[in-house]
């Protein structure tokens, strides 16, 4: 038998095998792909994967952005060595956390200990499926998308408390209690401030709210609502000056004291995901979303992906405001926090709702122009 024959025999064998196997997989797949629902489903899956990648990437870049900004606020540079200007530092940190062993305290409750951070991260990620980023990046018409986003956003205290309780550590428990108290106290003014926006826009749909801001953005007429929203969002995101649940000076690391490795990374990611969600919500509700003011030249939004670009610019600027606040203000006390939340924020939020109602009644503001009729 010559070598050529040998070669052809093996070639034939492998070719036949490949053909058979390929038919085995490809045949049913091709038949399934004629089904329109399946194609839609695969499209949704692809979109979800894209969304996951984009939100994770944004989160990690957001941490880098915060570190760089904070560095300049403190007269230093922040991360500098890994990647260009330290851009890859957080990827390296994430990789390190990913490789680390996860330890669980012996007395900790196993189910709650693992369920808490996972659910916290998953619910934070779920919000991104709802938020419209531009006309193209949009999960479709959803009349109550704002409510849904806020509902998912307010799951967090539960999971934080579950993980804090199951850690079986007094610092974790104190942090969890503080977190729950704080989030519940600030949930009310947050939602009332949203009500003011909804009253003016006449819709719970985030897309509609953005399109209602064609004439003017809502931050001007609803400045009281914006201030309440920003303060309440700071408390919800547990950022300085409202980072009492993880006050390093008193509670070691707050409710994530016992967590290390990837579970800690879950908390970290989810915290910054929520910060991103908060910034995105402020942009959507008060800063006109992906639109630009009409007096700017239209060529700024004429190119593809311009909506996403301007949206991200606004989001990062809003997050820069949070970093600015973090760099400036000291942490408040728990009683101050709760007193401000219940005694000051809620009356202010009610005032903002009243102002919004007045705005809808009057319809026209001297500087900003006229409101479109509600529900139009």
């Amino acid at each position: 038998m010559s070598s050529a024959t040998l070669y052809s025999v093996s070639y034939d064998l492998s070719h036949t095998l490949l053909f058979a196997l390929g038919g085995l997989i490809g045949g049913p797949l091709g038949r399934l792909l004629e089904n329109g629902d399946l194609v839609t489903g695969i499209g949704v899956l692809v979109f979800a994967a894209l969304l996951l990648a984009a939100s994770m990437l944004n989160t990690i870049v957001l941490i880098w952005y915060e570190r760089k900004l904070l560095g300049r606020f403190m007269d230093r540079r922040g991360a500098m060595h890994v990647g260009y200007a330290g851009l890859l530092q957080n990827f390296a940190d994430g990789l390190k956390l990913f490789r680390k062993h996860t330890t669980r305290p012996r007395e900790a409750d196993e189910v709650g200990f693992y369920f808490g951070p996972t659910a916290y991260l998953v619910t934070s990620l779920m919000i991104f499926g709802i938020l419209p980023i531009s006309t193209g990046w949009n999960s479709g018409p959803m009349p109550l998308s704002l409510l849904l986003a806020l509902v998912i956003f307010s799951f967090a205290p539960l999971f934080i408390f579950v993980s804090a309780w199951s850690s079986n550590n007094k610092y974790s428990l104190m942090g969890g209690l503080r977190s729950a108290a704080q989030m519940i106290a600030y949930e009310v003014p947050l939602l009332l401030a949203v009500v003011a926006v909804v009253v003016v826009a006449g819709s719970f749909s985030l897309t509609t709210i953005v399109y209602e801001q064609q004439n003017y953005w809502f931050w001007g007429p609803l400045i009281v609502a914006l201030i309440v929203f920003v303060a309440a969002m700071l408390a919800e995101m547990e950022r300085i000056p409202f980072d009492l649940p993880e006050a390093e000076a008193e509670l070691v690391e707050g409710w994530n004291t016992e967590y290390g490795g990837m579970l800690f990374a879950f908390f970290m990611l989810a915290d910054y995901l929520r910060a991103l969600v908060g910034s995105i919500l402020i942009v959507l509700l008060f800063l006109g979303g992906w639109t630009l003011p009409t007096w700017l030249p239209g060529s700024l939004t004429a190119w593809p992906l311009a909506g996403i670009f301007w949206f991200m610019v606004k989001t990062y600027l809003v997050f820069g405001l949070f970093v600015w606040i973090r760099a400036s203000l000291p942490r408040v006390r728990t009683d101050q926090l709760l007193r401000v939340g219940w005694n000051r924020m809620i009356p202010l939020a009610l005032l903002s709702v009243f102002l919004a109602a007045a705005l809808v009644t009057v319809r026209c503001v001297p500087v900003f122009g006229c409101v479109p009729s509600p529900g139009a």
């Binding site: 900004l69 560095g71 300049r72 606020f73 403190m74 007269d75 230093r76 540079r77 500098m80 009281v224 201030i227 303060a231 700071l234 000056p241 409202f242 600015w324 606040i325 760099a327 400036s328 203000l329 000291p330 408040v332 401000v340 000051r344 924020m345 009356p347 202010l348």
Partner: protein, 261 residues
């Protein structure tokens, strides 16, 4: 955080919630703008404070820039050892408060008489500079080199040869002070105890001890003076570096420290 709520009647920052938020934020914004162009920090491995371009930028409180010839020369970094001028007097090891200096044998010019030179363990060294102050010949000084990190502990120990390599790299060094105090102690001899064994003169690092012939005096009454010539050490005080080697090698403990003449 009540920016709008209940504007306080008071004017202090504590009472007015708007000022409570606005003042720190204005301060932070000013700092941000100021450090946006160039923060105060330098990117260390890529930039160094001893670079000439930082000498004018980074000024110390007195207004004088940090640079070679100014403050920087007094930096106490890794030692430089000139093996050629080392006289193995042991004073550096004697003065070291951390016991990090060990005198080790190095091949000297005379193969029969190897030299002992300091070997420094930088894992223990506290960079106090006593050794270079004590060095009578000015052969052990400190340089401005400060990067000594190494992955192995054994590499923290600098042999005399490595210290000599540092010396040959011509780094900026601490000024060498060789002036000696006027009222220094001297080596004194208790003559009746001396047996003239020559040990002190043999081991003196500076060869400042010479054995001179001394007739054995004060014979017992009625006895003839001794025929044998006795030798006694005589110390040349200007050459003596006060290392005390002679005292430690004397078998009869007849040498001792004495006050100024």
């Amino acid at each position: 955080m009540t920016e709008e709520g209940a504007p306080g009647a008071g004017t202090t920052t504590e009472e007015n919630p708007v000022l409570y938020v606005a003042r720190p934020m204005a301060t932070a914004a000013r700092q941000f703008v100021k450090s946006l162009v160039r923060p105060s920090t330098i990117v260390y491995p890529y930039e160094r404070l001893e670079d000439p371009r930082f000498r004018t930028e980074v000024a110390v409180a007195s207004g004088r820039p940090i640079g070679v010839g100014q403050v920087w020369d007094n930096y106490r970094g890794v030692h430089a050892l000139n093996i050629a001028t080392c006289i193995s007097c042991n004073l550096c090891a004697f003065s070291c408060p951390d016991l990090c200096i060990e005198m080790v044998t190095v091949p000297g010019p005379d193969p029969k008489k190897p030299k002992k030179c300091p070997q420094i363990d930088y894992g223990k060294c506290s960079y106090c500079g006593f050794c270079s102050d004590a060095c009578p010949e000015g052969c052990l000084t400190m340089t401005t080199r400060y990067e000594l990190s190494t992955p192995r502990r054994a590499e923290m120990v600098y042999s005399p040869q490595r210290l000599f390599d540092v010396f040959r790299s011509k780094l900026p060094m601490n000024p060498i002070r060789l002036e000696r105090p006027e009222n220094e102690d001297r080596i004194l001899l208790d003559p009746p105890l001396c047996i003239g064994c020559n040990a002190c003169a043999r081991d003196c690092p500076t060869q400042c001890i010479t054995m001179v012939d001394v007739p054995k005096t004060d014979p017992k009454p009625g006895q003839k003076p001794a025929k044998r010539i006795w030798k006694e050490p005589v110390v040349n005080d200007s050459d003596c570096v006060r290392c005390g080697t002679c005292i430690s090698v004397c078998p009869k403990e007849c040498l001792f420290w004495g006050g100024p003449p």
